[in-house]
Subunit: 659 residues, 2 copies
Amino acid sequence: MPGLKGELKSRRRLVIEKVQPEVDGGRFAVKRVSGDLVRVEADIFTDGHDELACRVLYRREGETGWRETPMALLVNDRWRGEFYADGIATYTYMIEAWPDRFRTWQRDLRKRIAAGQDVAVELMEGSRLVREASHRATGDDALRLEQRADAMEKDWAPELRSEIAVEESLAELMDRQGDRQGKVLYDSGQRILVERERARFSAWYELFPRSTAPVAGKHGTFRTTIAWLPYVEQMGFDILYLPPIHPIGETNRKGKNNSVVRGADDPGSPWAIGSHEGGHKDVDPALGTLEDFRALVEAARGRDMEVAIDIAFQASPDHPYVKEHPEWFKHRADGSIRFAENPPKRYEDIYPIDFETEDWQALWLELESVVRFWAEQGVRVFRVDNPHTKPFSFWEWLIGRIKAGYPEAIFLSEAFTRPKTMYYLAKAGFSQSYTYFTWRNQKWDLTQYFTELTQTEIREYFRPSLWPNTPDILNEYLQHNGRPAFVIRMILAATLSASYGIYGPAFELGESQAREPGSEEYLHSEKYELRHWDVTAEHSLRELIARVNRVRREHAALQRNDTLRFLELNNEQIIAYMKTSQDGEDVIIVAVNLDPHATQSGWLRVPLLDLEIGDAEPYQVHDLLDDAYYSWQGEWNYVELNPHVLPAHVLHLKRPARR
Amino acid sequence: MPGLKGELKSRRRLVIEKVQPEVDGGRFAVKRVSGDLVRVEADIFTDGHDELACRVLYRREGETGWRETPMALLVNDRWRGEFYADGIATYTYMIEAWPDRFRTWQRDLRKRIAAGQDVAVELMEGSRLVREASHRATGDDALRLEQRADAMEKDWAPELRSEIAVEESLAELMDRQGDRQGKVLYDSGQRILVERERARFSAWYELFPRSTAPVAGKHGTFRTTIAWLPYVEQMGFDILYLPPIHPIGETNRKGKNNSVVRGADDPGSPWAIGSHEGGHKDVDPALGTLEDFRALVEAARGRDMEVAIDIAFQASPDHPYVKEHPEWFKHRADGSIRFAENPPKRYEDIYPIDFETEDWQALWLELESVVRFWAEQGVRVFRVDNPHTKPFSFWEWLIGRIKAGYPEAIFLSEAFTRPKTMYYLAKAGFSQSYTYFTWRNQKWDLTQYFTELTQTEIREYFRPSLWPNTPDILNEYLQHNGRPAFVIRMILAATLSASYGIYGPAFELGESQAREPGSEEYLHSEKYELRHWDVTAEHSLRELIARVNRVRREHAALQRNDTLRFLELNNEQIIAYMKTSQDGEDVIIVAVNLDPHATQSGWLRVPLLDLEIGDAEPYQVHDLLDDAYYSWQGEWNYVELNPHVLPAHVLHLKRPARR
């Protein structure tokens, strides 16, 4: 047939499109955690009026066969199938669909019978389909099908023969043995990266080990940090994150408050990594030995916490790499090595690494060996400094390699940059990502931002980690609004997202003084000097933090983000939202007064219809923060929040008992 | 380097994603018409802080080289480039982007100078870039670059050398000669199907030629249809669409009002194609000869109209195919051929074609030869009957083949089925598509539907054709609401969409009687009997139709759909919307009273901000239907519409004169 085959894309009649979850046509993995129910949806349709049969095929890496789960029609040609992802592994899925000849025939037969048409010829056709299937079947199914085909061919009245033909049980038999002629396979190679639960649900506590000494003025160590573990554990955190623990450079070392002039005792910024005492695979001798570090990792594990370290791929001018691999750095026209800068800003104590070096292969392997080294010391959580200034492809490669050996590894991206860059880093493999939360203080911008993060495709790969403060960022809102501001920001962070963190003890002790007006830098920042903290202080937020973290552990609704929805509340100063567990059983409603100065009140609308609660049914809400109980009824309910007492409700909604 | 290259997807640093326009990752063509400005957008970004250079590469089929147009940064890493698509052809485009080393250097230099830094070393680096470019350049550019490199290297003060270095003219020189190291190419093979203007902007008039006889009771012919052309032309239509013109089967021929009992003189349904007198390549002898048909085609062309025929791939039991190719039809278990049905409905006068026949290749080629046959008779517009009951891949293949020989060919899809099927047919190649407009009579559903059609990705491939009535559909709204209903529906169809049609003379004469209550079928439908129409009747809408079609021709805003936006108006009975030409110069505002019984009024909000009209500036609107002029000011303006006078405004907004 001239010209027919060449131009013909496909004779397949079915279309499978708009598949979810899918990231960039299968280019990047979708993220889930072990135990999640994976919900696959697609538009599936064909010409004409055939009934369709649709299946999700999925398998865990290493499995040779495919497991299969049926898809059901939702509405408007949209189909859904579900399966559980168990274990820390990568899954792959595909969709298969075909015209279901038997169910099409059965549906039409029912209509013909209802219209009183003669169905004798139709029964002949149907019995032929059943007989064919009986030949494909084995065991009891073969017998069952044969017996039904026989019955449909008997010289009984058509009504009698039809009774057997229209049974759902026959359709189910046929589902198992039916032909899949005209089958279409949708295979984008979509991977589902199933991580451990902590990749999604985690509470981080950032701490400078050098500030953990029991007496002021002394340099803290890994050993003195071990003594802090009970304190961090009591507050309910599960990840203890340490800024870089490596030897700190001497050349151009910064003094207190980032001064270019340093005092003799100034310890320097831990991010100026490398000295004659070693580089990224060494520990700062002032902190102890590698053995001490391993002891800290072990001690944390004993309390169901783990230690995260900071991966900052940059070097002080004294780093061994500078001498051994000058080709890994950018040289200026005068032969000097270019220090880090973002013109006109200069970071004279740091050399950035040149990822475009001719010797990139050796460089990349060396950097990977750094992460591997710390994994070998028992570290499984890595906070990565400024990943957006290194190539995306480098991270995709590195994270893939590390996770191949250590599937439990978790990487947190510290990229405060433009949104698309942040999202792309998450696609490239980071388990969690810093966000703009730190600068979102109003109802409208929090609502807009978290709707984008949790209700669009972004949620499939980007897991937000919310930080009210970091050693780099003391937001204005915290500087000027006293203790209520800290409480407000902490509760927002801990309930808007399943993962959050604080930089302590600066946070729980309400440290709020900036280096200078208009700056987000802390005065006497720990980045440049030792601090001594009195964590037993009366005004500490430790009790509240402990309570909030306990609530998070006890309520599945707070351990995920995809169910987040904002609720109507007629006051711009109070933000309200709801989260539920995946099965909808656990329901948490949060209302936060964003005004740190004055009591605010308003009417909050509970989405009763979606919760399947009647307008006339009273229901109870239990404030998990102050243990108060309220009996509510109807959609609109009154809330009033005094920031000087407690600026938030975290309410557990109890559904009315059913008969 | 073990394990490095194999796992590494790409070292390229740039990312190009979220490219528009693009349909299904380039699988299907985007549709445009000749003369359109094609606007290409993408998210383009990289790690770090480099400036980027981005280009759209495009070419018309047959061209070997690529044309190039620069992209500009809009906001938030979104880039845009534009080019004109001229001529009826398929274009392809790609996007190319690379880090712009020179502009990055120049930007940083400006910042360093502003910060008072020493830039001597930077000037050395810059001059090196310029010098390298001068070697790549030819002619005057080479000289210009060399001269600037020299100047940057002189022993003048750095300030003086910098003056040359920061000039935009130097950056432009470098743009032409700059290196494209690190270039990334985005190539999804995206095609742009550029059709003639009528593919987007057209007014259809459907007419049964057999009802065109000058005297009642006689069978009209192609020749008597020619006599109707001035009438159709005066109303301003440009496509005259004829139901099937082929011999009509005798077996099971339907009688008047679709009766299974026929009268001796009943002409039968034109969709029951084929008899002993021929099939799809023959004309019904009652209508005349093929020569007569060609004369009609010619006569229409002489009035700048064209004839569209109906492609209905189905056969009456008497069609020659049934004897010659019984294998092209579905056989029942008793050996009989299955007639068309949608259980429990039966169409005993029609056999559907079995596209899954083993002999499909011969079948497909035969059907293609049918369309080709009529193209050879001069037909360029094809209305396709029920395409959704044939495989999508068949249409994609057939339309592609026909358009390869006849690029001006236009196919209209008559698929009244589920939305995703309708959209997919448009992707497969149909230039225009019937819609649900016929059943959308309220403000909310019209707004929702046309927002979906014109403001989502669907607009890239689906061109709506709006029909207030068809021979199959006399909507309830027309049955019960008198003349105002016809005026309302006609104005909506003609202004909501650049393409629309009416089935006449039933429409302009206000034919409104259904076969029975609850039916959408016409009483005495022309599908089953001859009719005689008095188009000179006093109550005809022909004058209004002519006026509306004239307004459409005179206003570019009404010749496209992508600029449609609905306007606020505080009355649910009045729908208001605005359309503009692509350059924004032509502005049309339409307000239609959807209540066919009572006068309705309300305040309409004109989007002055977008129109760049000040709140205090008066502006004029000219009603193109009744020639009234109004002077408006500010956003909110009063409208009042009496359905018994004229239920709509079609307003041309004139911007205030500028100094």
